[in-house]
Amino acid sequence: MLFSNTINSLENALKTSNIQQKVISNNIANADTPGYKAKKVSFQNVLSSEMDSMKATRTDQRHYEFTNASSAGAVIKNKNSSYHPNGNSVDIDQEMSDLAKNQIQYNALVDRLNGKFKSLQTVLTGGR
């Protein structure tokens, strides 16, 4: 009860953000590679599994908590589009804005996680 699902959710979100960062770095690194197809991280399955873990309720105090096993984003490849004549499909503007977005999201998640720990600490010290 002390460590609620929030921390788990934040942890999974951080993991996904980390994978996203790896995918973006790889896409930008391969911006000039002929035939390279841009990859992206699918959040849909992560989101749905997180929603499931939120909905779960314990009917008995002796039950274990419904903590989700680690779920991180799946990496999928966009094979159809082509941005360059050489078969490369990296859209550098898209990647750079995704990079900025992901960084802010990561910082926000770390902030929230710290906030969570802070409030726990407030409880533990009795508000002193």
């Binding site: 995918v23 973006i24 790889n26 930008i28 000039d32 990079l99 960084q103």
Partner: protein, 147 residues
């Protein structure tokens, strides 16, 4: 180390882009080099160098690609190849490398092409530096968790 993956990816791209810049500087420096290679007792002009890059592959990346998907390992340079397009012929009978008709073979380097290549690799280098800094600040932010 898996947390430094994104830094390694950017680093491999920085290496590849720097090599492209090196090739460009070599091409421009040798734009007038009539004695690039000694073949069969005869001097050949310098040939334009090109850098071939491809996505970096490893056994572990192949393995994980079969599973949930793989973020990738960055880029690698596969080969530095030579442009086989014809040499430029310049009429200069006084030149020591002129043939019987008085023509000199000049390297197949097009400065215009080289400059665009240079700008392209510089921009890519900058983009990768930005990504590197972003990944670095994320890792530093992760150290603040629970502080």
């Amino acid at each position: 180390m898996t947390i430094f993956n994104s830094l390694n990816t950017s680093a491999s791209a920085l290496t590849a882009q720097r090599l492209r810049m090196d090739a460009v500087s070599s091409n421009i420096a040798n734009a007038e080099t009539t004695r690039g290679k000694f073949v069969d007792g005869e001097w050949q002009p310098y040939k334009r160098k090109m850098v071939e890059i491809k996505e970096k592959d490893s056994f572990s990346s192949m393995l994980s690609r079969a599973g949930t998907g793989h973020a990738g390992n960055g880029v690698q340079v596969t080969e530095i190849s030579e442009d086989s397009s014809p040499f430029k012929l310049v009429y200069d009978p006084a030149h020591p490398d002129a043939d019987a008709q008085g023509y000199v073979k000049m390297p197949n380097v097009d400065p215009l092409k080289e400059m665009t290549d240079l700008i392209s690799s510089t921009r890519s280098y900058e983009a990768n530096v930005t990504v590197f800094n972003a990944s670095k600040s994320m890792l530093l932010k992760a150290l603040e968790i629970g502080k």
